[in-house]
């Protein structure tokens, strides 16, 4: 099947403005970035450039594999769906993601999961992130 997912187009173009990070938090209609699903930090000082961490929408997602309560479920075409009512906040998913893309909502003690909506892409002025189409087998 053909699905759309968020992807890094070129991290070397990132200027560290954090516009994407703030955009993600605005989905909740709030400022700041406590509940943002994207993170941007410098590699080792800003002169070396930036690391942009977004969910890769894995087709066989390790975060869902380790969820003991089935709160995280793999979606058809990639990525995961979170049912917060089932989530007990154990943090296994966060540890399982090798790229650190499972962020954490400290107040709720639950993971923050990227829903691949692409709202952040509209606010990246330098074409670092984008929505790409990909062919997947499905799950």
């Amino acid at each position: 099947m053909l699905t759309k997912k968020l992807d890094i187009i070129d991290a070397d173009r990132c200027v560290g403005c954090l516009s994407c990070v703030f955009a993600c938090a605005r989905r909740y209609g709030e400022g700041g970035y406590d509940r943002s699903a994207i993170a941007v930090r410098s590699v080792a000082g800003v002169e070396k450039g930036f690391v942009v961490i977004v969910c890769r929408a894995c087709t066989d997602p390790p975060c869902a594999k380790v969820c003991p309560t089935n709160a995280l479920v793999a979606k058809k075409g990639g990525g995961v769906f979170l049912n917060p009512n089932k989530c007990i906040g154990c943090g296994f998913c966060r540890n399982a993601c090798p790229i650190g893309a499972v962020m954490w909502d400290e107040a709720a003690n639950k993971p923050i999961i990227c829903v691949q909506c692409g709202y952040c892409v509209d606010f990246c002025p330098h074409d670092v992130i984008g929505i790409v189409e990909r062919q997947t087998e499905g799950v």
Partner: protein, 586 residues
């Protein structure tokens, strides 16, 4: 403001007692928004009359504003303190991640009081404040290394600001700066020396939180409008493409680029240190302050071979801006970009203010030319226009202060000239070394009476340029300049970067405040701006600022501006006019 917005929280840190506490100062923010407006109030509360800027009684205030973390380009932190350079109001703004970090840590302002006996650095992580031993960091050669060490030790990567001083601050050079995120600075008026006097090597802030808004839908809409305007604006494009360095060629063309201590106002080598040339040959990376889509920060990549080993290079990233190209380029007659970049890098390593450093060295060069000082004073250095190696050595001497002459230079150009002579070509206004605009009356008028003696107070240099070929009514323009400074108090209370001043107009600001829970009209904002300006001037008068004894360096009358030769008498008239306006205000 939204009742749950943590903006009202002010963090107080006492370095003497190593304690901290948080106070609810809602009334201050409701009346003065944040940034400069809140900071001047906190400064007045905390700084006793006649305080010695380098004694523990001088407080440091940092403040951010209601837009920080909510709207783009509200990315400046306002620092207020008593300036060791001028002995009066010290106000300096910096971007980087500083403002977002303070806001995300949960504060609208931070007050640092007292002084530590031994070197410390302070780390604020949300509600917790840690006093860390910095004895092993004191005296480290480069301000950049200090940040590298702290980066490894402290949490909060991607969400923190690391403000620190170099050896210039440790050694109390009166125009030492505070560096944040390596390429942004609380540059002017000597905050670095105040840090040094408190034995405060660095100040780290980090945090992560949500900020509530009242009308979520409106908030998102207004954000999108603002963002789209910013990204499409031609002015913003200019700052993104070439950065402020884009100004070198146009200013040189009209004869407003101070050159060789302003003996000239056009530089024959301007092309070789211009924004265009630097972008083409050296630009290695562009950066943004946190929450600013423009990314005006330009880093040159300078590749230098090691002399001792073939095919062994080091590549240094050096940030450049118009002001530094003026002060450490044309002002010193430096003829090519590579030489200039090396001087810029040294200033960064030592933690000096780039503008003041260049003006001080330019004065020293002319004083040496004229025989006012000699090699006994300079410890053998022969100052010569364009000789960057001598300038680098001199900068190190200014920081080390091995003799009376370099001690004098470390006190600023006004002090050095009062000791050695050469006042006529000592280019300071209100004791602050001049910025790079020989544009006409309004530019200099702004340096003289602007509340922090900065070109950005009134933007007089821009008024001068816009008036070229048009009516130049000084009487009217004085009023215009004052109104501009009053409005800029609002921008710097919202901590909006002045580069976005064309976007954040009064109506837009009022509209953007609404969904956050503020109810202010453009007229209300105008009144608050005037009130903040008045408070700043009251502080200046309290600390001895006197409009009747302002020193105008004679040099500015000797070199033609785009408006021709300036007439000293006209400045007297402008100041008289200004006095009437200020008296009405106070």
């Amino acid at each position: 403001m939204h009742p749950n917005d943590p903006l009202y929280r002010v963090l107080y840190i006492d370095l003497t007692k190593k304690i901290y506490w948080i106070e609810d100062r809602r009334e201050l923010f409701e009346n003065y928004l944040g940034g400069a407006g809140v900071a001047i109030n906190l400064l007045k509360e905390e700084c006793p009359r006649g305080a010695d800027p380098l004694r523990p009684e001088n407080p440091i205030v940092f403040a951010v504003g209601p837009f920080t973390g909510l709207y783009p380009i509200a990315s400046k932190t306002v620092a207020m303190f008593k300036s060791p350079l001028t002995g009066n109001l010290g106000e300096s703004h910096a971007g980087g991640r500083s403002a977002i970090a303070i806001r995300m840590a949960g504060y609208g302002a931070i007050v640092i009081k007292g002084a530590s006996k031994h070197p410390v650095y302070v780390a604020v992580h949300g509600d917790k404040v840690f006093f860390r031993d910095a004895r092993a960091l004191w005296g480290i050669k480069s301000s950049i290394t200090v940040a590298r060490i702290i980066r490894e030790k402290e949490p909060g990567a991607g969400q923190r600001a690391i403000m620190r001083i170099g050896r210039a601050g440790e050694n109390l050079v009166k125009y030492a700066c505070v560096v944040t995120e390596t390429y942004r600075h609380f540059g002017r008026l000597g905050l670095g020396a105040v840090f040094g006097s408190k034995k405060l090597k660095a100040f780290v802030v980090s945090g992560k939180r949500s900020l509530p808004v009242l009308d979520k839908r409106r908030y998102r809409e207004i954000y999108k409008e603002l963002f789209d305007t910013m990204v499409k604006s031609p002015l913003m494009k200019k700052y993104h493409d070439l950065g402020t360095a884009a100004n070198v060629i146009p200013l040189n063309k009209i004869g407003a680029l101070p050159t060789k201590n302003l003996k000239e106002s056009k530089f024959e080598n301007a092309d070789k240190i211009s924004g265009e040339y630097l972008a083409e040959k050296y630009l290695g990376r562009r950066l943004a302050c946190a929450h600013c889509p423009v990314a005006c920060i330009h880093l040159a990549a300078l590749r230098e071979p090691y002399e001792t080993e073939p095919y062994f290079y080091k590549t240094t990233f050096i940030s450049y801006d118009y002001e530094l190209i003026y002060s450490l380029g044309s002002m010193l007659g430096i003829r090519n970009a590579e030489d200039m970049l090396k001087v810029l890098d040294e200033v960064e390593v030592l933690g000096l203010d780039g503008i003041s450093s260049g003006v001080v060295l330019a004065w020293a060069t002319e004083a040496y030319e004229k025989g006012i000082i000699n090699e006994n004073d300079t410890l053998g250095l022969r100052f010569k226009w364009g000789d960057y190696e001598t300038y680098i050595k001199a900068l190190r001497y200014i920081v080390e202060q091995p003799n009376e002459f370099y001690k004098a230079l470390a006190n600023g150009v006004d002090y050095a000239a009062s000791k050695y002579g050469g006042e006529k070509f000592a280019l300071a206004f209100g004791k602050n070394e001049m910025p790079g605009y020989h544009t006409g009356y309004l530019g200099y008028f702004g340096f003289l009476v602007g509340s922090r003696h900065s070109h950005l107070d009134m933007g007089g240099y821009s008024i001068d340029q816009k008036a070229l070929g048009k009516e130049y009514n000084l009487d009217e323009l004085v009023v215009k300049a004052l109104r501009e400074e009053e409005w800029r108090q609002i921008l710097s209370s919202l901590v909006v970067c002045f580069f976005a001043r064309g976007i954040y107009k009064p109506e837009i600001v009022a509209k953007a405040l609404e969904p956050l829970g503020w109810n202010l009209t453009p007229e209300d904002l105008g009144k608050i701006g005037a009130k903040i300006h008045r408070l700043k001037y009251e502080f200046k008068f309290r600390e001895g600022f006197d409009l009747d004894s302002l020193r105008l360096p004679h040099r500015i009358f000797e070199t033609p501006t785009p408006h021709g030769y300036l007439d000293e008498y006209k400045f007297k008239e402008m100041i008289e006019k200004f006095k009437l306006l200020i008296q009405k205000q106070i």
